[in-house]
């Protein structure tokens, strides 16, 4: 361990170009290692010390080039020696006899030979770093001299490199190393991180991201292919060797975003004379002075993020789930004690007081435990930042993004599931909503479009708004398209909101041409499906020429739902309340029978099919006459039906639990929940119950009945 630390320090000194500082460290190492092991390192160090430190000091450009090359060679030797030493150390430290396998085919076999736990930790840490790298690079793009971001991005790549080296993920290590070299030159003021270099660094980060994904799937036994980063490494090395060329006038690249994005290789053109170095070197200081107030402003959130980080720890989700289970049990046990008839009858005031106190504490503990799963949406928003940058470039448009309420908290699972839909909507906003700069100017708007993401809490829900100031949705075109596809009858009167909802229909796209970004008609229906899956709702508001806003309404957490506890015979079931519209006891004659079989009930002038829960789940009910049952009007994906149960027991917030193992996919059952008395209640999957209703029936009646109920539906909407 000690030796590894020493090596790290050597690497650091080396990157800081403090070659003379390495010597004492080497001497320290020699106490622990044999001469043979250290010899190559010492030799290349001597060579490095013999070279002039900075190639820019050389007078003539030609001379600078040759000198640079020589020192490059010495550097490569030094790096190679250092790496070899590091590897030798880590192998001698590793207890497993995995040396033979790893050296033969590094990329493929290393994952399997490494300790999966270590690899898992690496993936976690690498992803965390990649997140901050992206954030940092985007700040650098706006302000190339932002020292703090340069340092933090450098450190992140350095850490990734170190970890990858230890676990022998050579590709990651190589890429991280090259990016690190560029960043190091940037933070030493040798080059300026222009857009081309930021692009390069970002694609480096992207590659590492892909590679970590690959490693993860390999860890789970799946194989995935990620092409070797040959081209990327070549670009990175070219940029590192010829920093002057890459650090061309940052302004030029910014004005022509498409050119830079289309082919990063064009951004690394031929040599620029040595005089340019001096100029480039002078730029940051001048810029720094000019941008001082802005730089301070950018600093503030970064610093806040850092302090937040230091107060959080990583916890295994299995542990959290266990904690939640236990807290749930505690609440049940507490209420059992509190409601015990003997205790209630005792009339002991002190006991009652203590019980009240206990109740308050358990409630608080439950609230805190539930909150542990919540994380701020800022991570999600951060990804949008990157997306807006890339997408607007590709589309040749200008777009800015603004965030509000980044600190709003949401269940981690929801945030993960929400990423794709939000990315898709933002991509759509840029591609369809935001106009070309010229068009915008002609319409009297700012050249750059504006996309706003807002998150805030409203009672038990989180609202997320995606606002753009583009051209708005085209009512007529959506309508025509819908009529053309037979989704809407000709001449029907539709409200704006109804028209806008049409874009969520499968295969619906009004884009006149299919672009790389959107217009293939896959997407908005998937977005809607995903949001519905999260028990959320989506709504649109749009004004022609002014912009479009998407409203997402989501539950705080997926772990808890509010449910109606109903009874059928001896069994109890939980009906998720978000799909329940109303409940009633039918009056005599309200229920009619179709063909002596299927029951229908008239609810507010609409005939709805009746599904008896006892039949749907084949349990023994207690009522045979429909009039004695309780009717629950449920809505599933726009279709309404009536669920008939024996009795209504109560309303309760329940924690959803998996039935586990082979019972997980039981049709009609979405999961289990612990009821107030400690028993398990089954949460109903109304969609499956409606879909699979009365399977005994012949197919012909089934279809006839279905078409009947759909025609009812049409009557309602038109």
């Amino acid at each position: 361990m000690q030796l590894n630390q020493n090596l790290d320090r050597i690497a650091e000194q080396y990157l800081l170009e403090d070659f003379s500082g390495i010597r004492p460290l080497l001497a320290e190492l020699s106490a622990h290692l044999s001469h043979d092991q250290l010899a190559p390192l010492a030799a290349s160090l001597d060579q490095l010390l013999a070279e002039p430190a900075a190639p820019a000091e050389a007078a003539a450009p030609a001379e600078a080039a040759t000198m640079g090359q020589a020192s490059q060679q010495a550097r490569a030797e030094f790096e190679g020696a250092l790496e070899a030493l590091r590897r030798a150390l880590s192998q001698s430290a590793a207890p497993a006899p995995s040396t033979g396998a790893t050296s033969s085919s590094p990329a493929a076999s290393s994952v399997l030979s490494q300790d999966p736990e270590l690899v898992g930790d690496f993936l976690l840490e690498a992803r965390e770093h990649l997140g901050s790298v992206e954030q940092g690079l985007l700040i650098i793009e706006k302000d190339p001299s932002h020292k703090e971001s340069l340092h933090s991005v450098f450190r992140s790549f350095h850490t990734i490199k170190g970890l990858a080296g230890f676990l022998e993920f050579d590709r990651i290590q190589d890429v991280a190393h090259e990016v690190e070299t560029i960043l190091d030159m940037a933070r030493n003021g040798q080059i300026v991180m222009g857009p081309a270099l930021v692009d390069l660094a970002l694609s480096g980060a992207d590659f590492i991201q892909r590679e970590t994904n690959r490693i993860e799937s390999e860890l789970h036994g799946r194989t995935e292919f990620v092409a070797a980063p040959v081209e990327l490494l070549a670009h990175l090395r070219a940029a590192a060797q010829d920093p002057g060329a890459a650090a061309q006038d940052p302004g030029a690249a910014a004005q022509d975003p498409s050119a830079a994005a289309q082919d990063p290789s064009t951004a690394v053109p031929a040599n620029i004379p040595a005089e340019a170095h001096a100029e480039v070197l002078a730029v940051p200081s001048a810029e720094e002075a000019a941008k001082l107030p802005e730089a301070v402003a950018v600093d503030a959130p970064a610093r806040r993020a850092q302090t937040q980080e230091s107060y959080s720890i990583r916890v295994d989700t299995a542990k959290l789930d266990y904690l939640l289970d236990m807290v749930g049990e505690m609440v049940i046990a507490e209420s059992m004690v509190r409601l015990d008839p003997e205790i209630a009858a005792s009339g002991n005031a002190r006991l009652q007081r203590n019980l009240t106190q206990l109740r308050r504490v358990t409630e608080e503990v439950q609230k805190v435990a539930m909150a542990t799963r919540l994380v701020p949406v800022s991570a999600l928003f951060q990804r949008v930042n990157r997306l807006v940058r890339d997408t607007s470039r590709k589309a040749g448009k200008l777009a800015e993004v603004e965030f509000f309420g980044e600190e709003t908290q949401l269940d981690k699972t929801i945030i993960e599931e929400l990423t794709d839909p939000i990315m898709h909507m933002v991509r759509n906003s840029i591609d369809h909503g935001i106009e070309q700069p010229e068009q915008r100017v002609a319409a009297g708007k700012a050249r750059a479009g504006k996309i706003q993401l807002k998150a805030y809490r409203q009672a038990d829900h989180i609202l997320i708004e995606i606002v753009d100031d583009g051209r708005g949705l085209n009512r007529e075109r959506i309508r025509n398209k819908a009529t053309e596809r037979g989704l809407v009858p000709e001449g029907a009167v539709l409200t704006d909101s109804e028209i806008f909802q049409l874009i969520f229909e499968p295969g619906f796209s009004t884009a006149e041409k299919v672009t790389d970004l959107s217009g293939r008609g896959v997407g908005m229906d998937v977005v809607k499906k995903q949001i519905t899956k999260l028990r959320g709702k989506i709504d649109i508001q749009s004004t022609p020429g002014v912009g479009t806003t998407f409203y997402l309404k989501l539950p705080l957490t997926l772990a808890i739902i509010e449910g109606l506890v109903v009874g059928v015979g001896r069994e109890r079931f939980i009906v998720p309340i978000f799909s329940v519209q109303e409940m009633f006891r039918p009056a005599p004659g309200q229920i009619s029978t179709v063909q002596g079989k299927a029951e229908m009930v008239m609810v507010r002038n609409t005939l709805l099919p009746v599904v008896r829960l006892e039949d749907a789940l084949s349990v023994v009910g207690s009522h045979s006459a429909s009039e004695d049952g309780l009717m629950i009007v449920a809505e599933i994906e726009g279709k309404r039906f009536v669920l008939m149960v024996d009795e209504f027991i109560g309303k309760q917030e329940v924690v959803i639990k998996s039935l586990g193992g082979s019972l997980k996919n039981t049709p009609g059952v979405a999961g289990g929940a612990i009821l107030g008395d400690g028993r398990v209640g089954l949460i109903l999957d109304l969609e499956a119950i409606y879909r699979d209703r009365e399977p005994k029936e012949e197919n012909s009646t089934e279809t006839r009945k279905q078409s009947f109920c759909f025609s009812e539906q049409d009557l309602v909407t038109v």
Binding site: L324, D325, M326, G328, E329, E571, R572, L617, S618, V619, K657, S658, L659, G660, G661, S662, L663, T666, P667, G668, V669, G671, G672, A673, I674, G678, R679, V680, G681, L682
Partner: protein, 175 residues
């Protein structure tokens, strides 16, 4: 007791089974007339019978789910699983919560048995390979047979018993 069981051991059937160390501690319990044993390491806990919530559309041997301190776990009636007639649950009936290794990872499953007997320490020499009962009896769920205090215990491979769907004919062992 079946006469089959007292037959001398047949030559080893599955080499993989023979390779596994089978000696160790076993929890023994009764189902119908027979004594069974499962490795103690597989047992999480033993609990008295509690209210079981039935789950629709499941095989008849799945009695339902119970609340194990905040976790919902399925419960399987071993009598029904082995194709034996159902009986009334008694004071002695209990649920053995086992930890099962399956393709989907570890999970907890409760097993309803007629009664728990004791924990036996069995040496490798006490355990004999399962005799070949012919085609009618699927011996996949069996680890072997153990003789202890003059009685034969059937050692179960509980992972296999809980995950396999076709084990009905194991019951014919018992009768």
């Amino acid at each position: 007791m079946s006469t089959n069981i007292s037959l001398p051991a047949a030559p080893p059937l599955a080499s993989s089974l023979a390779a596994m160390p089978r000696g160790g501690k076993y929890l023994t319990f009764q189902v119908a007339e027979e004594e069974f044993g499962i490795q103690v390491l597989k047992v999480r806990e033993i609990m008295g019978l509690q209210e079981i919530t039935a789950v629709p559309h499941t095989p008849h041997y799945v009695k339902g789910v119970i609340n194990l301190r905040g976790k919902v776990i399925p419960v399987v009636d071993l009598r029904l699983k082995f194709g034996l007639p159902e009986t009334e649950y008694t004071q002695r009936t209990c649920i053995i919560v086992t930890e099962i290794v399956s393709t989907e990872g570890n999970m907890l499953i409760g097993a309803v048995v007629d009664g728990v007997s004791e924990v036996l320490n069995l040496a490798e020499a006490d355990i004999e390979d399962t005799p070949d009962f012919g085609r009618e009896v699927n011996t996949r769920g069996l680890l072997g047979m153990a003789k202890s205090k003059g009685k034969v215990k059937i050692l179960l491979d509980i992972d296999e018993v809980m995950t396999a769907t076709e084990l009905q004919n194991l019951g014919s062992l018992v009768n």
